[in-house]
Amino acid sequence: MPHFIEPQKHSLQNGLELFLLEGGDQELCCVELVFEAGSKRQQKTLQAGLCHALLLEGTQNKKSAEIHEELDFYGAYTQLDINSDRASVSLYTMNKYFAEVLPIFVDAIRGAIFPEDMFQIALQQKKQSYAINTEKVDFLARKDFFKSIFPKHPYGASAELADYDNIDVSDLRAFSKDFFQTSKLKVYLAGQLPTDGLELLNEQLGDWTLSSKDFDPIELSASKAEKIYTERDGALQSAIRIGRRTFNNHHEDYLQLKFLSVILGGYFGSRLMTNLREDKGLTYGIGAMMMGQEESGYFAIATEVNADSTKAALTEIYKELHRLREDLIPEEELHLVKNYVMGQLLKMADGPFSQVSILKNMHILGFGFEFYDAYNEMLNNLDAEKLRAIAQKYLQEKDLTEVVVGRI
């Protein structure tokens, strides 16, 4: 197991929680602000994503170009990440310029006015990307898959072309007011703490008025397994997605099912890779994953295969699922995958910058690093019988949605 850095928790004067993960040889740090502003909070499609994308693009006093000119001058980088659950904005900087850069960064976010011209540029960009993405079999398969396993839930929602004509800058401002300007947020700092780092953070973030509002989980409506085929003439490859809705990391079967996903398709030598790629050459790659979200989770197999062999590929995938349900996983394979997972954790948690992203995700799910104690325990008590029972419980063919875009 990795050696996790003990996070130091500080409260700024407004009660805002700051987590400090100190370490590293370079005089660098990353400050990340995590807002409860994921796309599941939006009232309108595209609202959260566009609002978030424009957080650093202009205030009352500064134009977008000035903000970026200043940040770039000090060699700072910013990064924006958003998913259904959270939105975050990160600042990467050399510590020697921390005192200059932090106020520029924080002011930009707190004073964001969402200028019309910047909005139009971002909207056009996103609209074009959407048009290009809909030419990709993989994108279309993913979209159908999530829609099927999360019907009427934000986790399954995605934009349609018409949505791009149905949003304006007032939607962004409204979203920002509720979810960025007054919302709950958590702050993380990884790397070396700059001189006067805590004082500067307190100065910049300590007077931010924060809402204490808690959000209720969004209702998950029943979903049933579907088979969804979209024919695309002349496609050279078919994209395949097979899987189901599951649950998040709090569920007692989560870790075992996650482990099964690794056996099936979570590493280069996995069963699906060995069968479909290394034995039959049907694909460049195939993977299986088990993901936990704040309010749910999913299990999915994903690949793009030679379109002339789509049926053969489906048959082989189901064969491998059948094997998981029927046969006990040999001791040697359990041992190999255990070592692989341990090594992967070491790599994932290599240094403060990697660890902070783990910590942040764990917080979203309602854990800290202690989650990995349970992980460790599971790995040290692997039981082939139990894993087979889990496969039988969750990986029955009749319960899996199957999406194919391409040719059958």
């Binding site: 050399m94 694909t283 793009e304 290599d350």
Partner: protein
């Protein structure tokens, strides 16, 4: 500052060791000085196909990946037009496994017919997934032969066409291996919490028994100076018009490399860059526009790639870029702007030193270019660039007759409602 030690075995293998005690993982990186530029024009894609075959079993070890995974490691590889690079990161206690695996692959492969048959198919699927079944996936397949008429950079690492991969024979595979995979054609870097003496001992133990091989001296046809602008216009079933152009630039080892790299930063690094501000934001000619250097080791290309905004013609888009290039040629870059891109390089350099694997790869390519210590001196080389250097270079690179332009048109849909 990256401290390292360098030594060479009698068989010609160069080994570089960098100690980094901050991580429990060790990065083991081995670079072979062979890439797509070393291929026969009728057997393109071979260096990359070969990279796949390197995982199909070596003479004494049939299950490379399994051994890595059992050791808690992760591994991968990539092929470029210049090099083929293999790497493993693993817990430091298992370091010797990496030596065992990589030395056995260098000694010889198993050359099983099954592995060749399957990997040919896998690479064909990779070809489809990344180049043929993707919107705009064929752009580089079109650009390279447009810009290069003599130098083997005229084909992409995936190859010119699928048939070159489908027709590869076992004989050719073996010949390629013994011609290019040799201790005297490789650079090994070990970075992490390792003991230098231990790495020396392990290198001797595992690599020294491999014989030096007869590696042909590289003698590639040089690309003559381009004297006439070239253009290519295609129409594809894609949603957005794309403008692509490329200008010949200097090699990686050339003293002008650093100034050229800074030009790409001035034009296109970050939201305060010139192209974004002028052509995306103000004039709205492009919805997205990028300028970048191709990263080749021999004299390579300086690229422009942009998605046109709705309703903009190729002509207007091209004129917009030309006006920005004229500005570079006619006016000196202001001191502040030059300082900005240099600061950015400095910070990017510091952030790249966080990862042991990054450092290992960087040391290996620097050694190939001429000296591993370039990792430490390159910041000074960037610092030394002047506004005059940039103006001179811009005049030389961005000549109309040095340009290769691809107009990638979206097919007009009949039923466009």
């Amino acid at each position: 500052m990256i401290h390292f030690e360098r030594f060479q075995l009698d068989n010609g293998l160069t080994v570089i060791v960098h100690q980094d005690k901050s991580s429990p993982l060790v990065a083991f990186n081995i670079l072979y000085d062979v890439g797509a530029r070393d291929e026969d024009a009728h057997r393109t894609g071979f260096a990359h196909l070969f990279e796949h075959l390197m995982f199909g079993g070596s003479v004494n070890i049939s299950n490379y990946d399994e051994v890595v995974e059992k050791s808690g490691g992760q591994n991968n590889a990539f092929t470029t037009n210049d090099i083929t690079n293999y790497y493993i990161t693993l817990p430091k206690d298992n370091l010797e496994q990496a030596f065992r695996l990589e030395s056995d692959r260098m000694l010889s492969l198993a050359f099983t017919p099954k592995s060749l048959e399957v990997q040919r198919q896998v690479v064909v699927e990779e070809f489809k997934q990344n180049y043929l079944n993707q919107p705009y996936g064929d752009i580089l397949l079109l650009m390279r032969p447009l810009a290069f008429k003599k130098h083997p950079y005229q084909w992409a690492t995936i190859g010119k066409e699928v048939s070159h991969i489908e027709d590869a024979t076992m004989e050719e595979v073996k010949e390629f291996f013994f011609k290019h995979y040799a201790p005297n054609n490789a650079i090994l870097v070990v970075a992490g919490d390792v003991d230098i003496e231990e790495v020396k001992t392990l290198s001797e133990k595992w690599f020294a028994p491999i014989e030096r091989r007869d590696v042909p001296v590289r003698n590639l046809p040089q690309e003559p100076r381009q004297e006439e602008a070239r253009t290519l216009s295609v129409e594809r079933d894609v949603p957005v018009d794309v403008f692509y152009s490329a200008y010949h630039m200097c090699s990686r080892a050339d003293k002008n490399f650093y100034a050229t790299d800074l030009i790409s930063d001035i034009l296109s690094r970050g939201n305060s860059s010139r192209l974004y501000n002028s052509l995306v934001k103000d004039q709205k000619l492009f919805s997205d526009l990028d300028a970048f250097i191709g990263g080749e080791l021999d004299a390579g290309l300086f690229y422009f790639a942009g998605n046109l905004a709705e309703g903009v013609t190729m002509e207007a888009a091209e004129k917009g870029i030309e006006a920005e290039l004229d500005k570079l040629k006619n006016e000196l870059v202001p001191a502040n702007e030059l300082r900005k891109v240099k600061n950015k390089v400095q910070s990017a350099h510091m952030f790249s030193e966080i990862s042991a694997l990054n450092k290992a790869m960087h040391l290996a390519t620097s050694e190939l270019i001429g000296d591993a210590n370039l990792v430490n001196t390159q910041l000074e080389s960037y610092e030394a660039v002047t506004a005059e250097d940039i103006q001179e270079l811009a005049k030389d690179i961005f000549r109309k007759e040095n340009s290769n332009t691809l107009y990638y048109h979206a097919k007009k849909k009949q039923d466009d409602r």
